[in-house]
């Protein structure tokens, strides 16, 4: 009976602690950005964080429809492939002259698609020179510890497997000044970070 009780108690303890570990592996926070109507699409990432790379998604799609690139911000790990299907009713010419990755597909028709492998971390600015309003960014990341904010400015970064210690949490948005905050893991997992950002010139992802 005692053995059974100990076993059940042990099981309960294990379940409880493992659930806590899962929940606490998410570094969460909220961003308030000055002058932005929606608080989404702000990149939050741990710079210089090294850890075991989980099996990350390697294939992404950046769509073109109604004269819009979708999503507006696409965050991908280094080495990922992005497809650019033209699902619009008019021709488009996706290209980048960014130093991170230069390519130019030329004008292509609805129904056609092209692919590019992004093998270098940094910011890639996408354009369509037939439609000047079309603009999008692909952010190529060195490590998997990143997230984009939702409309309310909330973010959750999965830091599972990251060694305890001090890290620099950075932000990037096309219309906001970059910011950096020092976070200590695992202590920072217990509370929700609050970050305020100002409008201004965005910086680079990695110096």
């Amino acid at each position: 009976m005692n053995t059974k009780r100990i076993f059940i108690l042990g099981l309960i303890f294990l379940i409880t602690t493992s659930t806590n570990a899962l929940a606490s592996d998410l570094l969460s926070g909220n961003i308030r950005a000055q002058g932005l109507r929606k608080q989404n699409n702000i990149l939050v990432y741990l710079a210089r964080a090294k850890g075991p790379l989980p099996s990350l998604q390697k294939e992404f799609v950046l769509d073109q429809n109604n004269l819009t690139f979708s999503p507006h911000i696409l965050v991908i790990p280094e080495g990922a492939t992005v497809s650019f299907p033209n699902n619009d009713k008019v021709d488009h010419n996706v290209f980048s002259l960014s130093r991170t990755k230069k390519f130019n597909f030329g004008s292509y028709k609805p129904g056609e698609s092209h692919k590019v492998v992004f093998d270098k971390p940094g910011i890639v600015e996408l354009r369509c020179d037939l439609h000047s309003e079309m603009l999008s960014y692909i952010l190529v990341m060195k490590s998997p510890y990143y997230a984009l904010t939702d409309k309310k400015g909330n973010f959750f970064i999965d830091v599972t497997g990251l060694a305890p210690g001090k890290y620099i949490l950075k932000t990037w948005h096309e219309k906001l000044k970059n910011s950096k905050v020092s976070v200590k893991l695992p202590a920072a997992l217990k509370s929700k970070l609050a970050i305020k950002l100002k409008r201004g010139a965005p910086g680079v992802l990695y110096k």
Binding site: D91, L97, S107, E133
Partner: protein, 561 residues
């Protein structure tokens, strides 16, 4: 009994098999033909068969060319409930059509030649008339700068030497320097008045001309252009060849356009390939000045041989004032076959769809006219007439900027990369009064400016004073512009006073300019930062002040390191 049953079954089996055999080849035949039928015919004229006429089903993207005997074959859907409109068009001929059902091998189309001569007594029709059917296109056009080139206050101020309040002798004016001349502004700013017999020759009177009840570059003017030819006799070095008014069917008028499938009783439409070519725009987006007598200028100080040759504007006695067309043309000519940018032309970017126009429309005419004469088209085969250029959205995406930095032994090195991303011409283009400025600042972590050791600075004419007032003289940065100078060495003079181009630092299409700066870091443990802004200025600050123009800089992009 059993035998009979067996026999009956066998007969049924054979009949079914035979029927299947009969059906199968039919299915196979249909699939081979992809459910299409054909219509055949000839395109003829009073002079004989017409070779190389473009024939298509009205509104479709694909067309076929007639052979030497004027014959054509068009594939059509196999099952069509009603006759299909087959159209034919050729440069120099009115478009025409025939209604035919699939399988018709006698769908003949007669073409009539456009008149050989122009009619200088023709009176252009108002855009309001065109707007009755082409309402949406006319609305886009009305919002463009092209629609208001005559009443543009800045043009009138520069012409008369007035300011925005009407004050006379306020800064430079063409008429002040040249009281006895009218100039040639009207040829582009009021073109319909300029080419009408008895029309205005100076831009001020063009506004009151009885020949122009409207402003700007109007629909009827552009769609009366038959061809654009090279000449040495106009400031643009190009000249439109007009064919005006053509009583062909009742009261209809001759209208040139890109379509070879527009056939209706209101307009006598004629397909003209020039509407889909870059040199159509050369008539106005090109301007040179011929120096007096045998005067020349040293163009080698400003342009490379390849650039000068690419302009194709003449010898050293010619000053390139506005060369948007030449910039595009020389860029395109220099591209290797197969280059992704090869073949792009002005219309592709300046007459393309914008988000505000969505959802896409399949027609270029509206209302009742659409029901009567509308041709359904693919949106990609429609060119909205908003003529974007120098608009905020185009400027903001014309250039892009990136930065990189390095700290070493108390020195901060900053490299700025500025790329002409979207421009198919140099940026900024057009009027030499336009400029783009890079304004760079490097500060320590407390915001105190670092001492510059290396790198260009902005010139005095970007404004001496406070940064917050838009005065950037002396700051680290660079100006991208074309600077005209006169014989006395004055810079940024209006084109009629210019005797040379002092410098031309504008950014060539799809190329990147790298600017290197070096700053001294006082505290080696500090984390300095650099910030760069790219700013578009439509005209020099000093000119804006004297002319009392509202000067609004546009922030193209900004970046930090």
């Amino acid at each position: 009994m059993r035998k009979t049953f067996f026999f009956t079954k066998s007969v049924y089996f054979i009949v079914v098999l035979a029927a299947t055999q009969l059906i199968m080849p039919m299915r196979s035949w249909s699939s081979q033909k992809k459910n299409v039928s054909v219509i055949r015919g000839v395109v003829a004229s009073q002079y004989g068969m017409v070779k190389d006429a473009r024939v298509r089903i009205a509104g479709s993207k694909d067309f076929t060319l007639t052979d030497i005997n004027g014959r054509f074959t068009v594939e059509t859907p196999l099952f069509s409930g009603r006759p299909i409109k087959i159209t034919a068009g050729k440069d120099g001929w009115f478009n025409n059509s025939v209604n035919a059902i699939p399988g018709n091998f006698d769908a003949n189309i007669m073409l009539y030649p456009i008149p050989a001569n122009d009619n200088p007594d023709y009176r252009f029709i108002s855009p309001a008339v065109c707007a009755r059917c082409h309402n949406t296109l006319a609305k886009y056009w009305d919002k463009s700068k092209m629609a208001h080139t005559t009443s543009n206050i800045k043009v009138l101020n520069m012409y008369k030497g007035t300011d925005a309040t009407g004050q006379k002798l306020a800064g430079p004016g063409f008429k002040i320097d040249n009281p006895g001349q009218d100039g040639s502004c009207v040829s582009c700013h009021a073109p319909s008045a300029a080419v009408s017999r008895g029309g205005a020759t100076d831009i001020e009177s063009a506004l009151w001309s009885p020949k122009t009840e409207w402003d700007g570059v109007s629909c009827d003017f552009c769609h009366k252009i038959r061809k654009v030819i090279k000449t040495r006799n106009t400031p643009s070095l190009f000249k439109p060849l007009m064919r005006r008014q053509t009583p062909y069917q009742g009261n209809s008028i001759l209208i040139f356009g890109p379509y070879d499938d527009v056939v209706n009783p209101v307009m006598s439409a004629s397909h003209s390939p020039i509407f889909d070519k870059g040199n159509y725009c050369a008539t106005c987006h090109s301007q040179v000045k011929k120096l007096d007598g045998k005067t020349t200028w040293d163009r080698n100080k400003v342009y490379s041989d390849a650039e000068w040759k690419g302009f194709d504007i003449g010898d050293d006695s010619v000053i390139p004032v506005q060369t948007t067309y030449q910039e595009w043309k020389s860029w395109q000519t220099g591209l290797a076959p197969g280059d992704s940018n090869k073949g792009k032309k002005c219309q592709d970017c300046h007459m393309s769809w914008r988000k505000a126009m969505l959802p896409y429309d399949n027609y270029i005419i509206d209302g009742q006219a659409r029901n009567m004469w509308g041709t359904k088209r693919d949106p990609g085969n429609i060119r909205p007439h908003q003529f974007d250029g120098g608009t905020k959205i185009q400027l903001k995406t014309a250039l892009s900027m990136e930065m990189e930095g390095k700290i070493n032994d108390g020195i901060l090195d900053i490299n700025v990369f500025i790329t002409n991303t979207n421009g198919g011409h140099w940026v900024p283009t057009g009027d030499p009064a336009r400029s783009v400025m890079l304004v760079l600042s490097a500060t320590d972590s407390k915001g105190r400016p670092l001492k510059k050791l290396k790198g260009e600075e902005l010139p005095a004419w970007t404004g001496v004073g406070k940064i917050e007032n838009g005065d950037y003289a002396g700051l680290p940065g660079k100006i991208f512009s074309k600077v005209l100078k006169d014989g006395k060495g004055n810079i940024n003079v209006p084109f009629w006073r210019a005797t040379a181009v002092a410098r031309d630092t504008r950014i060539r299409p799809k190329t990147t300019v790298t600017l290197k700066y070096r700053f001294k870091i006082e505290d080696p443990d500090d984390e300095p930062m650099a910030e760069a802004k790219l700013i578009y200025r439509p005209f020099m600050k000093s000119l804006a002040q004297i002319k009392k123009w509202e000067s609004k800089d546009i922030l193209i992009t900004e970046s930090a390191w």
